[in-house]
């Protein structure tokens, strides 16, 4: 009679392999070098975090209306930000008209929201996107500048985050289509178009943005008659858009060159013309490939908008700088710049995360 063999129940894995300890051993203390790096990082955190926390939170002043409120505490004076917050957002936009700015932003969020919902069919998304592209700039322009019964607000009164978003938004929406056209033109077989596009791209890539802005604000007026004055913001917008379009063109060209010749030939064999071939076969694949490059350019553009401070436009950064020159608030530049950095980071990080999710969603065979 055979004795039934009862297997010994499985022992739990050793503590040193699983659980938090196992994780620590695997990831932080796996080799002498890693142990050294971990300890060094810990040390740096220990010396950096407490003073930072003390300055930003524990010893900071949050309430009050004047600088005197901050004299008692040794930390940051966030009162400075609170008092100037509206100005950092809207610049010199008149108080009574600020609802128009809010409405402009709200309109964009509401109308663009369906684009980000996955369940909405692509056909509707496409139509909606085209509709927004066609109508929204006009509506936003009227809302922000005035006319049609609204009080006129000159662009010199725009400022703060509003101006930063206007420059970045216009720059992005203008640069992408223009960049695609330039990229197609550069690969064109027609010598006239090709030369034109190459010249354009190489010219705008060859000069720094700061020079472009400076030329547009300082040199251009000298060549125009005295009674003819271009809007300063418009000049900057044109400069930024053309400049970024040149960069965008090269990013898109990278995508175009990665598409195998077979795709072009297959499209041609189906009897598609140039625009149909590009629009239906080549560009969707090419643009998908270069999403990281496009977003990279957008993020760079967003940060480059701060350069307009050299031509006296009051974007977020310049608005902060202006607030630090008010004699009633001298000496709070650190708080101001920390705030500006946080806002810029928020937007850039948002763009970066969105591009990652977009890449994941659109990956159809390319991702390794």
């Amino acid at each position: 009679m055979a004795e039934a063999r009862i297997p010994h129940p499985d022992l739990p894995p050793p503590v040193s392999i699983v659980g938090p300890i196992g994780w620590l051993r695997r990831n932080l203390f796996s080799s002498p070098l890693n142990i050294l790096l971990t300890l060094l990082t810990l040390y740096l955190l220990v010396i950096a975090i407490p003073p930072l926390l003390r300055w930003t939170v524990l010893n900071a002043t949050w309430s009050g209306d004047t600088r005197d409120a901050c004299q008692a505490n040794s930390g940051a004076c966030w009162v400075f930000i609170r008092v100037h917050f509206d100005q950092f957002m809207y610049g010199f936009y008149p108080d009574a008209q600020r609802w128009r700015v809010d409405l402009t932003v709200l309109l964009l969020i509401v109308s663009a929201a369906p684009l980000f919902i996955r369940r909405v069919p692509n056909q509707i998304k496409l139509r909606l996107a085209l509709g927004i592209l066609a109508c929204y700039p006009i509506i936003a322009f009227i809302l922000l500048t005035g006319g049609f019964g609204l009080a006129v607000v000159e662009t010199s009164q725009w400022g703060g985050l509003l101006l930063t978003l206007v420059i970045a938004g216009v720059g992005m929406t203008a640069a992408l289509p223009l960049g695609v056209l330039l990229a197609l033109g550069r690969r064109s077989q027609l010598p006239a178009i090709q030369t034109l596009c190459v010249t354009f791209i190489e010219f705008w890539r060859g000069v720094p943005l700061i020079t472009v802005l400076f030329m547009s604000s300082v040199m251009l007026p000298l060549f125009l008659p005295a009674d003819m004055s271009f809007d300063k913001l418009l000049r900057a917008l044109i400069g930024v858009s053309l400049f970024q379009a040149a960069y965008m063109a090269e990013v898109v060209r990278g995508g175009l060159q990665a598409i195998p010749k077979g795709q072009f030939e297959a499209a041609a064999a189906l009897g598609l013309g140039f625009w149909k071939m590009m629009g239906l076969i080549v560009l969707p694949q090419a643009l998908k490939l270069v999403i990281p490059g496009i977003v990279n350019t957008f993020i760079a553009l967003f940060k480059d908008t701060s350069l307009v401070l050299i031509i006296g436009l009051f974007d977020l950064l310049n608005m902060v700088h202006n607030a630090t020159t008010n004699p009633a608030w001298l000496g709070f530049s650190t708080e101001g710049y920390v705030f500006a950095a946080a806002v810029y980071w928020l937007f850039c990080f948002g763009m970066s995360r969105y591009s990652q999710s977009l890449e994941k969603r659109l990956h159809t065979g390319h991702k390794r």
């Binding site: 010199s156 000298l222 125009l224 006296g312 020159t325």
Partner: protein, 341 residues
């Protein structure tokens, strides 16, 4: 080859013509009156001189000069549009006609007055380079600064003036250059340098940024001349006269004891000088092609020079700059205006 030459010549001529057209566009004053407001170029942020407050209103001594001109021309100090300009674009903005008058802590120099086609109308603020030191050093004069470590802003004339001054007085100098004024203030506080040098008007602003402003003093020596004033472009003498006299009126008013508060009572004064200035007697105001009492309007709406100085940079402000060179000529300063007669 020839064709290219001709083309370049034509292009150059076209550029010359348009720039000349821009610089001499006829009567600036007529254009301003027709437009209904004055376009004034100010700084993009300089404590006490021009800055926008939390409400977005422009303030400062340079700003008040423009308000005075608007009060003179339109009888309303609010009829002025401010254009904040950076140091680099300020002169072109004026030359190209983007602004009518530049009031932006601009130093009056010979080349700006001649080759650049500009006219300085007067001096709103006599500035000059000075020194800020910790009281603990016990230094009373800049001559005692031998061997000092001095914080200075890089790439400015300030740096050159500093080394000139020390060399002329046979003193040893260790300069430390900084890019931003905030950095130099911080390093003075940390004791990395003994002295901080900059234009005096800026030293007072720097002092506020320190944790204990009371521990530091500005030395009496001024080692360079920086007369700051409003600028107009060549080509319209009537406009030049108005901008020039808007400032003179404010200085004269202080000398005669006329303030924005008492200007109405002063109109009853028996003093003929005051009567002429306020437009009660004679037609001195009309000579400028403006309302006869424009000088009284300027004083009423903007104030006399002393009031403007006091509320923007002087004892009535956070900066607390002493009058010094900017006191009236009969009180030991340099502010002097020709008589109204």
């Amino acid at each position: 080859m020839n064709r290219i030459k001709t083309l370049t010549a034509v292009a150059a001529a076209a550029v010359l013509l348009t720039t000349a057209g821009a610089a001499y566009a006829g009567k600036a004053l007529d254009a301003i009156k027709e437009r209904g407001f004055i376009k004034c170029g100010v700084s993009d942020g300089l404590p006490g001189f021009s800055y926008a407050d939390e409400k977005g209103n422009y303030n400062g001594i340079d700003v008040d000069v423009c308000r005075a001109v608007a009060a003179a021309v339109f009888g309303d100090a609010a009829k002025v549009k401010f254009t904040p300009l950076t140091a680099k674009e300020r002169l072109t903005a004026l030359q190209s006609g983007e602004i009518d008058v530049l009031s932006r802590n601009t130093t009056w120099t010979s080349s700006r007055d001649s080759a650049q086609g500009l006219n300085f109308t007067g001096v709103t603020y006599y500035d000059g380079q000075g020194f800020l030191v910790n009281k603990k050093l016990g230094v009373k004069s800049a001559k005692q600064l031998d061997g000092a470590t001095v914080c200075v802003q890089a790439g400015t004339t300030t740096e050159l003036n500093l080394s000139d001054y020390f060399r002329a007085n046979k003193m040893k100098l260790t300069p430390i250059s900084y890019d931003k004024s905030d950095e130099s203030a911080k390093s003075l506080e940390a004791g990395r340098c003994d002295v901080l040098t900059s234009d005096q008007s800026q030293l007072y602003a720097q002092r506020i940024k320190l944790a204990k402003p009371g521990d530091y003093i500005v030395l009496p020596e001024v080692i360079s001349k920086e007369p700051l004033g409003p600028v107009v472009r060549h080509g319209d003498d009537e406009w030049f006269d108005i901008v020039k006299w808007a400032l003179f009126v404010m200085v004269n008013a202080e000398e005669m004891g006329i303030t924005s508060k008492n200007v109405e009572e002063m109109k009853k004064s028996a003093n003929p000088d005051i009567k002429r200035l306020l437009g009660v007697e004679g037609d001195k105001g009309k000579d400028f092609g403006l309302a006869n009492d424009w000088m009284a309007v300027v004083i009423k709406q903007v104030g006399n020079y002393g009031e403007v100085f006091n509320r923007n940079v002087g004892a009535g402000s956070d900066l607390k700059i002493e009058r010094g060179l900017n006191a009236l000529w009969n009180q030991g300063g340099l502010q002097y205006a020709p008589p109204v007669r």
